[in-house]
Amino acid sequence: MESRQPVPRKASDDEKAMNTLQHSELLQLLVDSVKDYAIIMLDPRGNVISWSPTAERLKGWRHDEIIGQHFSRFYPAEDIEQGKTEMELRVATQEGRFEDEGWRVRKDGSRFWANVVITPLRDRDGRLRGFGKVTRDLTDRRNAEEKIKRQAQEIVEMAAVPVVQVWEGIVLVPLIGTLDSQRTEQLMERLLNRVTETSSPVALVDITGVPAIDTQTAQHLIEAIAAVRLLGSEVVLTGVRPSIAQTLVHLGIDLTNVTTRSSLSTGLRRALEMLELRIVSKGASSA
């Protein structure tokens, strides 16, 4: 009976030791198995002291190639020059955490967009033993975001200056909203390209939707019209409302060399005349 007493005690020590071992093994398994995060450890100076299969998959270095190397290997040259790696360790040490999103470099030199969290590892006495570094590859997300941004920009540009072919030989630019230099530049480029592509001798520029015209806007329009002429095409400026006509005269803007009309429909009729075309009603042609 006596001899039995200490047994549970001893067993419990073993169990504890066993648990601790299992615990650290399990932790290692976790680090090695997590697919989405590359978890590695650095010594206090920033040299790699532990590596994981996910880190290898993400960054390309094998365990034996990277252990002992400084973690600046993962950074683009310009970041290293700016002292980014030292800054990251300093911030992590001072604030207990550092997080960043940016370009990182693989072994083969290719770049990926990463989210990085660096955490200082301290022992019970508060001494810095190293850093834990968790890296996540966000390249796909970033590419998707870039694509959406690009598409949105394209839509905005298209909506800003649409150029449509309304008849064989006639293109139409309905301008809506205020015309600034940037929009006029886009307008010119699109209009000139469409005129060339469609080989259209007449371009209708409709300013019905332009709220007001000032000297600068008028100057932009005159430039666009001059450029269209250089290509060998003519512009008919339509949508000259009474208020616009008054402004143009009061500002002393000379549009005498430009064909202008008050409405788009009369402008279109003028364009058809220029192409020696006429729209005839069925009744009139059979009569």
Binding site: V195, T196, S200, A227, G232
Partner: protein, 113 residues
């Protein structure tokens, strides 16, 4: 390049002049000489200047072309510039080149209409 880069062909009452992609100053000067001497020899009704190959236009080229056009008018012809590229037209407008009152056309075919 010089004068050999330019082609000047007389077709009936039209003088068809083709300008190379990047005309240097000597080519541009030769252009005026060749056009005016062809005017004297053939007395065409019009000069069609095809610049569809031209990718960059400088002020010297623009000035020479507009001068040549005025000279052609004085000699009894008319000048039509054909095929200016959009990018060239934008640059031209930005540097203030309007080519005066010279006629323009989208294609050689339209210039001959």
């Amino acid at each position: 390049m010089g004068e050999f880069a330019i082609s000047v062909i007389k077709v009936r009452d039209t003088l068809l002049v083709t300008v190379p992609a990047e005309p240097d100053d000597s080519t541009v000067s030769a252009l005026q000489e060749r056009v005016l001497s062809a005017m004297e020899r053939h007395d065409p009704k019009r000069v069609v200047l095809d610049i569809s190959a031209v990718e960059t236009l400088d002020s010297f080229f623009a000035r020479t072309v507009s001068e040549t056009a005025r000279m052609v008018t004085l000699m009894g012809g008319r000048t039509i510039i054909v095929g200016m590229r959009p990018a060239v037209a934008i640059t031209a407008t930005q540097i203030g080149v309007t080519l005066g009152g010279i006629e323009t056309a989208l294609t050689v075919e339209r210039a001959l209409d």
